[in-house]
């Protein structure tokens, strides 16, 4: 989903931020960690530390889940590796989810964008309950001109993604997704906004399969004045 990254860059540059993208980066290690394969996750996480320690300034990530991995779960991953643990704890203090960064660090709640759509917002689990970032995306969305934000039943309930869980326990995951999508469709909104690419992929995949034309966008795409949401389907 390159559009999400592009929108993050557009938003930050519009705020006068110089954005760098360390080109060698791959993954923070979360998929293997969540599946219990810590010995496979650790070198990947360690590589993440190497790459981002070589940079300065805040590290902004358009995913509550990836940010939570670095901030909350590296302490478990590196529990028996004191050197990396200390480095991870230091680096974690530089990591922000994108809406958190805009509101808490830049002090901006109004990005002065206009989007004439009706939409509803799903509060992604790790953003909400691991990072406790909830007011920030709400404040940013409230200030989008033209956005008709419709309340959703059980908007705090998981969509059933959960990484490998969605494949390993696909029937349970699908039952959770069905409940979520019923609540999405019941709002009548044409667009679903969420803050994590995994959840977006899951909910969009489910909506497409049931023949719904509700489109799912990342909150960064919605907040980016340059994004063209009518083409978001073709990401």
């Amino acid at each position: 989903m390159p559009n999400v990254g592009m929108s993050v860059v557009n938003i930050l540059e519009a705020q006068g931020i110089e954005v760098h993208f360390p080109p060698d980066q791959t993954c923070c290690g979360q998929p293997a960690f969540n599946s219990g394969f810590r010995n496979d996750a650790r070198p990947v996480a360690s590589r993440f530390l190497d790459i981002f320690e070589a940079t300065d300034g805040p590290i902004v990530c358009p995913s509550g889940s990836c940010a939570a991995m670095v901030r909350n779960f590296y302490t478990d991953l590196f529990r028996d590796h004191p050197d990396e643990l200390a480095r991870a704890e230091k680096l974690a203090r530089r990591v922000y989810e994108v809406t958190e960064f805009i509101v808490d660090v830049l002090g901006v709640e109004d990005l002065e964008v206009r989007k004439d759509i009706d939409a509803t917002y799903h509060r992604c689990c790790h953003l909400l309950r691991e990072l406790h970032v909830d007011e920030q995306p709400n404040a940013l969305l409230e200030n989008v001109d033209g956005l008709d934000l419709k309340p959703m039943e059980r908007d705090e309930v998981c969509c059933g993604f959960g990484g490998a869980f969605s494949v390993k326990m696909s029937d349970v995951s699908t039952a959770m997704l069905d409940e979520k999508l019923d609540n999405v469709v019941a709002t009548g909104a044409s667009t679903l906004i969420a803050g994590d690419t995994g959840c977006i992929m899951h909910m969009q995949g489910g909506l497409r399969r049931r023949g719904s034309d509700v489109q799912v966008v990342h909150i960064a795409e919605l907040l980016d004045s340059q994004s063209d949401l009518s083409r978001a389907e073709q990401r």
């Binding site: 219990g36 070198p43 705090e156 309930v157 998981c158 059933g160 349970v172 995949g205 399969r209």
Partner: protein
């Protein structure tokens, strides 16, 4: 109770296909979950009370030997007997011994999850003793020959019609219809049992070390009746279910009851301080407290899992859990279902067989948010996934297959270099190209076919963000 944790997936599939069960599960969210939220919202300093609850349990568990010793001494001072049971068989043997010595014919039960661990009802029944549950929900599941579906609402999966059938069949009287009539019918059926019972077995929501008391929280009054009518009272508790003082008890009751049912206080809170004293008219002649380990020492010894012993069995994690609400209580295959059960059950009955339980979570964190003593359940689920994937510290508990281990090794190799990472996504693009339809895939091969059974999957983007960013800088 025999564990069937290894059958989680097939049991879950059955529950998912059962429309009636799925409807029954809704009350868990709409009833209990919402009641807890509103009780918490109406309580001043709710967060501070949770923090205090956690501090009390952390302190108690960190000094468990000290407080168990104090509890045992004070129960004995009050005239009771204390038995430390190493496991379920040991606890059963002790209770059987009491029943045999006293020629017990009828045992009444007040809700006890520890007695479910022991499988006590079946053990006593095999000795020819009549055993009757007196909590209405427990009574219903006993009549149905089932295990409790939920730790505070054991028969939540049963419809009114099913309850009517069960009570009519057991009582051999006319089938009744309304909830009031059914409750009345159960009261009539249980009254005689209460009167003829010569022994009761109860659980303990808490034991208080400094007073040697055990505490029962009920809404039906059956706990109070069970602890005052029969000649002998046996209370069974897990070795973690104690608090140091009466002041601590008060703090814990506040958060337990609000988290369980949303009530500020339950209809009955019963404190038992041993057998009837010489100057008292009521109460049992004998009081026994069975304190059971049954594998809890494995939680105690493990720094990363010890927090599970802080659990006060309120059920809030189940009520908030979107997985529990889909798969239901019986899918978990042992006494404790839901998020906390996914930690306790595999550790107490075997992680290799129970590895599916910690895997059955999207790690959404609703349980952590709901827990009145702030147990970080997702963290421990991850811990158990690691223990079962890698067989550390116990190689015998490794549950991962060779193929899965190799897949993650390959993943790791791919992630250790940006060029391999991009090569991987190029291969993905190549494979996906003939299959994709407006950027999405309808069908993928194993091991990810589970996704496309019910969801489209996005084909890799034609240009990665990294490439876009690099080209843009060059412009």
């Amino acid at each position: 109770m025999k564990s069937t944790t290894s059958a989680f997936r097939s049991a879950a599939s059955q529950a998912l296909a059962d429309v009636r069960l799925q409807q029954a599960h809704e009350v868990v969210y709409n009833g209990f979950h919402r009641a807890r939220l509103s009780a918490a919202g109406a309580t001043e300093d709710w967060e501070a009370q949770r923090t205090l609850g956690k501090a009390i349990k952390d302190h108690t568990i960190a000094n468990l030997d000290y407080y168990l010793d104090m509890l045992a001494n004070n129960v004995e001072k009050n005239g009771g007997k204390v038995y430390f049971a190493s496991d379920a068989a040991d606890a059963n043997a002790y209770v059987r011994g009491i029943a045999e010595k006293n020629d017990v014919q009828t045992v009444i039960k007040s809700k006890s999850m520890v007695s479910e661990e022991m499988g006590l009802n079946h053990v006593l029944e095999a000795d020819g003793i009549e055993v009757v549950e007196t909590d209405l929900g427990e009574y219903i599941v006993q009549l149905a020959g089932e295990a409790p579906y939920h730790i505070i609402a054991p028969a939540i999966h049963k419809t009114k019609a099913q309850v009517a059938d069960l009570l009519a069949e057991e009582s051999k009287t006319e089938r009744r219809e309304t909830a009031e009539e059914l409750t009345q019918q159960a009261r009539e059926m249980l009254r005689g049992v209460f009167q003829r019972a010569d022994m009761s077995v109860t659980g303990a929501n808490f034991a208080v070390s400094e007073t040697g008391s055990i505490v029962l929280v009920t809404n039906e009054g059956n706990g109070r009746m069970a602890t005052s009518m029969p000649r002998i009272h046996v209370a069974a508790m897990g070795m973690e279910k104690l608090v140091p003082s009466a002041a601590d008890l008060s703090a814990m009751l506040r958060i337990l009851i609000r988290s369980a049912t949303g009530q500020r206080i339950s209809a009955y809170v019963t404190m038992v301080n041993g057998p009837r004293a010489h100057d008292e008219e009521d109460g049992p002649e004998e009081f026994h407290l069975v304190i059971m380990n049954n594998g809890r020492d494995r939680l105690l010894r493990d720094d990363s899992l010890r927090e599970a012993l802080n659990c006060i069995r309120c059920g809030a994690c189940m009520n908030s859990c979107p997985v529990y609400r889909k798969v239901g209580g019986h899918s978990y295959g042992w006494v404790y279902p839901g998020p906390i059960g996914s930690i306790v059950s595999p550790v107490l009955t075997g992680l290799k067989d129970g590895a599916k339980l910690p895997a059955a979570s999207s790690l959404c964190g609703a349980c952590h948010e709901a827990c009145p003593v702030k147990i970080n359940i997702p963290r421990m689920l991850l811990e158990l996934r690691a223990q079962s994937a890698e067989g550390v510290p116990d190689p015998l508990q490794r549950a991962s297959g060779f193929g899965e281990r190799m897949t993650w090794k390959a993943w790791q190799k791919g992630m250790m270099s940006r060029s391999r990472f991009e090569a991987g996504s190029s291969i993905g693009k190549l494979v996906a190209a003939p299959l994709k339809k407006d950027g999405w895939l309808k069908k993928m091969p194993p091991p990810i076919s589970g996704w496309t059974d019910s969801r489209d999957f996005p084909a890799p983007a034609s240009k990665s963000f990294g490439k876009w960013f690099a080209e843009r800088k060059r412009d």
